[in-house]
């Protein structure tokens, strides 16, 4: 009995000693690498093909220039799931050394003053447009550097279908409906909708915001202060238009189950004439699936009731940020990486991997010569000063259920008025969560 006991004990001692040795060895290697080996940092991006390709290419080019830094690529999901992950990682101090994330209200929700490193004294900041600086800054500093180009929301259209039927680009809502009726009579789907990917249902509403702002320049401010509502004009138009295209049967038959990729494909092969969408999404999907169709797809702003109000809604690009938990040698390396992204070399890599869906937000980058038709159309609106920032950049208030409310309105489950009222209720929760005044 006692012999077994002693044997066990000695086994335990040996095991314990072995464990301690392993732990010590682990410590010493960790110390050694930071002293003389390359500095290792990690970069977190979204798991889309484009962002992974861009991330890999940027890292390869950066490591070539900076052999003493090693960058690992990590990915995360996009959408609301990704928002949660980023917030959780930041609050637990587990964030990667550099990470890619949205600008505007989603960025503000990260509590940047206490979680992110202020980058306002970096050299590249002077190249960035004021519009972009606004969406990555608080009163406490500038936190993000642009990665990717800006993009617009509106209606992508098939130029050949329009030309064959002799249709002009509609600039007011009634002429859009008239054009759609004419297209329908010719046996082509006038307006493609893709509620199989729920997020695409919001496009109608979000892209109408440029028109709202044109009619009421203070709308976003009033909205944040709980004074302007979606149930009232001019913002109600987005909902009524969404209901109208369903009621008049202007949608594709499979609108409830089609995905955004299906929608883009239908637009490309001419079975659908118009697709309300983000320019960047249409362009990157086309480049991947049907590159021949790129020259045949144009873009116009979501028409307002009056042609004079029609304004293109534009989104600033997302940005790369450094969390406060990155320190010392890693911080220096992370700052170098962010600067590289915004250098002419970094831009060349970006352009090589993703065709920009709109103009860049930094003077270090420029859209290459052979611009797709869709980007040229967007540039024309910006040059003519007929563009405005999307609501998410002007107000932090965005209800989480907009997708589903839009689907209800856009597939006849509820009316535009009820949908707008439901959405006004929905945003209240967000405003209260943010602790805004007046809610």
């Amino acid at each position: 009995m006692s012999s077994i006991f002693t044997t066990r004990r000695s086994m335990a001692l040996i095991a314990g000693a072995a464990l301690a040795a392993v732990t010590l060895a682990g410590c010493s290697t960790a110390d050694g690498s930071s002293a003389d080996g390359p500095v290792e940092i990690s970069y977190l991006t979204t798991n889309g093909d484009d962002s992974i390709a861009t991330g890999e290419a940027l890292i390869a080019a950066f490591e070539k220039e900076n052999p003493d830094v090693k960058v690992t690529l990590n990915t995360r999901p996009g959408g609301a799931e990704g928002d949660n992950l980023v917030k959780t990682q930041l609050s637990t101090g587990e964030m990667d050394d550099v990470f890619f994330y949205n600008t505007g209200s989603l960025f503000q929700a990260l509590n940047p003053d206490s979680t992110l490193v202020d980058l306002s004294d970096s050299d590249w900041v002077s190249d960035v447009t004021d519009g972009f600086k606004e969406v990555v800054s608080t009163d406490g500093g500038t936190y993000g550097a642009p990665l990717g180009a800006s993009y617009a929301g509106g209606i992508a259209y098939n130029k050949k279908v329009f030309a064959d039927l002799g249709i002009e680009i509609p600039t007011d809502w009634n002429s859009l409906v008239a054009a759609a009726q004419k297209i329908k009579a010719a046996g082509v789907t006038p307006i493609e909708q893709t509620y199989g990917d729920t997020w695409t249902s919001q496009i109608f509403l979000l892209t109408d915001f440029g028109n709202v702002l044109k009619q009421d320049p203070k709308w976003a401010e009033d909205y944040t202060a709980n004074k302007a509502k979606f149930s009232d004009e001019p913002a109600l138009d987005g909902f009524t238009h969404l209901q109208q295209v369903y009621d008049e049967g202007l949608l594709n038959a499979d609108f409830a189950s089609a995905t955004a990729a299906d929608g883009t494909a239908a637009l490309a092969d001419g079975s659908a004439a118009m697709y309300p969408m983000l320019s960047s999404f249409v362009l990157s999907t086309l480049m991947q699936n049907s590159p021949d169709a790129v020259s045949n797809i144009g873009f116009f702003a979501m028409p307002a009731e009056n042609a004079s109000d029609t304004t293109l809604t534009v989104w600033e690009p997302s940005a790369v940020y450094i969390p406060k938990t990155t320190e010392g040698a890693e911080l220096d390396a992370a700052k170098k990486f962010v600067a590289f992204v915004n250098s002419p070399e970094g831009c060349a890599v970006q352009v090589e991997n993703v065709v920009p869906g709109g103009p860049f937000s930094t003077s270090a980058c420029s859209v290459p010569g052979d611009t797709p038709a869709l980007v040229a159309d967007i540039q024309a609106y910006i040059d003519a000063d007929k563009s405005a920032a999307a609501l998410e950049f002007l107000s932090p208030v965005k209800g989480p259920n907009l997708e589903n409310i839009s689907i209800e309105v856009g597939s006849g489950i509820s009316s535009a008025k009820d949908g707008a009222a439901a959405y006004d209720d929905d945003v209240k929760k967000q405003a209260q969560q943010l602790g805004l005044k007046g809610w």
Binding site: A80, N84, T88, A109, S257, N401, Q433, G435
Partner: protein, 312 residues
């Protein structure tokens, strides 16, 4: 879980009523181990169960952004109950739980009777019934989402052969929840059948032999022996499937994400969406409500079933 244990513990105690005072034996048994023996289990229990439970009660009373916490009293509960989607999702949850439970009881029992009879390849057939249980729920959901696609799906493709224009199983707001319920029944039926098979096999053969000697028809055997004596199995199946139905989430999320619109939203998916939106305090309050609802539904059900199994 405790409910199930009670069901099992209750049965032998009816047979052993002659044994004097079970409470004394229990006290003796407790003193077998020194109290430090319980410390590891107690520590695990406190860290993994007790602390999160009380923490969630606290966080349900706050506005919580993960970065900072503001105490707001019962505002979250007021907000949760004034949510226009809540009533509908609550109704959906009840419909889903009832439909799937009833179907699992009826079909599970029928299948179990079939699979306990003398069949060729019985073992194989039993295994096949159980296979869907082993597959990941998300995988099942995504597969059926593809099968039920209104235009490219195989189901509507098969219907089209007979000249029937199939509906949008998951895109029609009136059908979406029921379509998911059917898939849930398919996936969960194996467990119900297994429990029933165990229940039927456990019935002593003496009863059947006696009935046969008395010349009972197979219907009478079923009606008076198999059906009443598998009541404990029915209780287990009902409890398992009602709990599963009330907190069902993964299959619904994989197939419809609560859509189209909100037409297949259940309480768990509403809570998940609130969590996704970053309303951490609000969604914690929702979970507290869900916990209370499940408890409130389960206590009377398990009491009733325990009582019945004691009577039998």
């Amino acid at each position: 879980m405790t409910d199930l244990r009670q069901t099992n513990a209750a049965r032998p105690s009816t047979k052993t009523t002659s044994r004097p005072r079970p409470s004394r034996t229990r006290r003796q048994r407790r003193s077998i181990y020194p109290s430090w023996f319980y410390i590891p289990a107690a520590a695990l229990y406190i860290v993994l169960f007790a602390v999160p439970t009380f923490a969630s009660l606290y966080f349900s009373l706050t506005r919580w952004t993960l970065f900072d916490v503001t105490f707001i009293g019962f505002d979250n509960f007021v907000q949760f109950f004034s949510d226009p989607q809540l009533l509908r999702s609550f109704m959906n949850t009840v419909v889903f739980a009832v439909v799937t439970s009833v179907a699992k009881v009826v079909l599970g029992f029928a299948l179990a009777v079939l699979l306990t009879s003398e069949l060729i390849g019985r073992g194989y057939l039993r295994a096949v019934t159980f296979f869907p249980v082993l597959v990941s729920t998300i995988g099942v959901g995504l597969t059926f989402k593809a099968l039920l696609d209104p235009f490219d799906g195989i189901v509507n493709g098969a219907l089209a052969v007979f000249g029937i224009q199939g509906p949008g199983w998951l895109t029609d707001p009136n059908l979406a929840l029921l379509s998911v319920a059917v898939v849930d029944v398919w996936k969960g039926l194996g467990i119900a059948t297994l429990v029933y098979i165990a229940g039927i096999v456990a019935i002593p053969q003496d009863y059947f032999e006696a009935a046969r000697v008395d010349g009972a028809s197979s219907w009478n055997v079923f009606r008076n022996i198999t059906f009443p004596l598998s009541w404990p199995a029915t209780g287990t199946v009902i409890i398992l499937s009602v709990i599963g139905g009330l907190r069902s989430f993964d299959l619904i999320w994989a197939m419809t994400k609560g859509g189209p619109g909100f037409s297949s939203d259940v309480i768990a998916s509403v809570i998940y969406k609130q969590y996704q939106a970053g309303f951490y305090g609000l969604s914690t309050a929702g979970n507290v409500v869900l916990f209370i609802v499940v408890t409130a539904v389960m206590i009377p059900i398990s009491r009733l079933i325990n009582k019945r199994s004691l009577d039998v």
